[in-house]
Symmetry: C2
Subunit: 298 residues, 2 copies
């Protein structure tokens, strides 16, 4: 953003919105700091946007008193296009696209320079993104050599699921210990209904499942929030999302089975059948693991 002052432009647009919605011509405007906080930028940037407004004639200044002089129109907004993303986001989008579309497959090597060229930015930005992304454990590099997509092998899946198993079981246990009065139980009940609602219509609505899945696991974790567990879930989610791109065909079947399994787990939980819920969860995790393994390019 720094070379192209997008933050400034966004601020201008945001300020125009605020002026339009909350002030009328003749009103005095609040202090720089107030505006800066409102726009969620530094005072320097807020100041620059105000100066710009003055230049454009929307605001006049008498001493240090800022007054709204004219109402801005649509045409005064800066156009916000795709390029307004930070370079970082641009790289991210490009890279995820590549791997989600199978352009980069497990075992493949790729260079920073090439990515930089493709995503129209410089190597530093690319490299910084890749370093950040490497926390997912899907790519790695050794000094002076290119990055490599790690092999997505059986062992990787096993280890991933080992930890997932531990965490999910722990979440379940924490959840089951919640007092009856906690709102979690109502949320769980509501979630059951949502599942039951789409269950008979999976033929058409199977693509709604991922959202439910997300909800379910978030709810489970909410019983005992833990930043390390959440972090790990980011990895799981990504690996799933990443991996199933190659196997769109079986998606409907997979989701249908999963909905049933979720219903099973949640029902048992609501009946306070800890043992039953554990077994159902165990089964669910195994299904997921096996299906991942079957899809995997091993």
């Amino acid at each position: 953003m720094s070379r192209k002052n997008f933050l400034f432009q966004k601020s201008v647009n945001a300020l125009l919105d605020i002026l339009k919605n909350e002030y009328v011509v003749g009103d005095n405007l609040p202090s720089d700091l107030t505006i800066a906080n409102r726009l969620d930028v530094s005072r320097s940037t807020a100041r620059k946007t105000i100066d710009y407004m003055i230049e454009q004639g929307f605001i006049v200044k008498l001493g240090s008193q800022k007054t709204l002089y004219a109402m801005p129109q649509k045409s005064h907004y800066f156009a916000v296009n795709k390029q307004s993303m930070s370079k970082d986001k641009q790289v991210e989008e490009h890279f995820l696209n590549l791997i989600l579309n199978g352009k980069i497959k497990p075992g493949d090597r790729f260079s920073e320079l090439e990515l930089a060229r493709q995503s129209n930015c410089n190597t530093v930005t690319v490299r910084e993104f890749l370093i950040r992304f490497s926390r997912f454990g899907l790519i790695e590099k050794s000094p002076r050599s290119q990055w490599q997509m790690k092999n997505f092998d059986e062992q990787f899946v096993d280890e991933l699921y080992e930890v997932r198993h531990l965490f999910e079981m722990y979440s379940l246990s924490s959840f089951m210990q919640l007092e009856e009065t906690k709102p979690h139980w109502q949320q769980l009940e509501a979630l059951l209904l949502e599942h039951q609602e789409i269950e008979p219509h999976m033929e058409e609505r199977f693509h709604e499942f991922p959202k439910l899945d997300q909800k379910f696991h978030t709810l489970m974790q909410s019983a005992q929030p833990n930043q390390f567990v959440s972090q790990f879930y980011d990895i799981i989610s990504f690996v799933f999302h990443y991996h199933y791109q190659w196997d769109r065909n079986s998606e409907k079947d997979r989701n249908t089975v999963a909905v049933h399994e979720h219903i099973d787990i949640i029902s048992k939980m609501l009946m306070k059948d800890y043992r039953g819920a554990t077994l159902a969860l165990e089964k669910h995790l195994n299904t997921a693991k096996e299906s991942l393994k079957n899809t995997a390019i091993l």
Copy 2:
């Protein structure tokens, strides 16, 4: 390294070593590729070192045949000093030093630029290091603002220990299921001896404990290796190391207690007393957690 051709220099030194130890004057040398592989560098670099040797007169070339012409002496080696570290390592050393010496405390903000100046390198290198380091969850930054050392609060410790507890208990369970014939049991026995050996002399030998601790946890994990678990242990180790710098006084006491607890756990494990070992481990983890909390700057 790139500006100062350290890899080249290291290669020269390595090749000199090889020549001295494995060849005599008059010997023909193997192919570029063979040498490159041996030096663990690309052929280009290997080639450059060979060319340098020719320039220096140690090697002569007839057509494409390389022959050792003179034996190198000590004085021909490149001096390898501290600056031979990659910039990256230099930043790492500097930064860890800062936080381990309490120069940067929880909650503190710090700038990339300052670190760059202090560690005598540029902001890009610093930033890349910080991004990599941020996986430990101890620092964070939001766009356009400085980095911040996260608060090391009770919740952080609790969450850390929650996961640690899960992992350790799982490791224990995996270990206990190992067949009697596995070498792990002998290693465990040996480890018990090591503990018992220093136990009566903790007054002087308390500083030997961290190594034992490391060994113990590595051994436990070896029963069921898992990259995610190992990764998490890196965090734990670092947090410990980091944190206890501020409380050197109680180190002896802490370690003395810990040695006893380890002995307790290992003994129970060797007796195949799973229940007893679990309880002992539970106690050990609690001690550690409490001691961390007491030290913590909350």
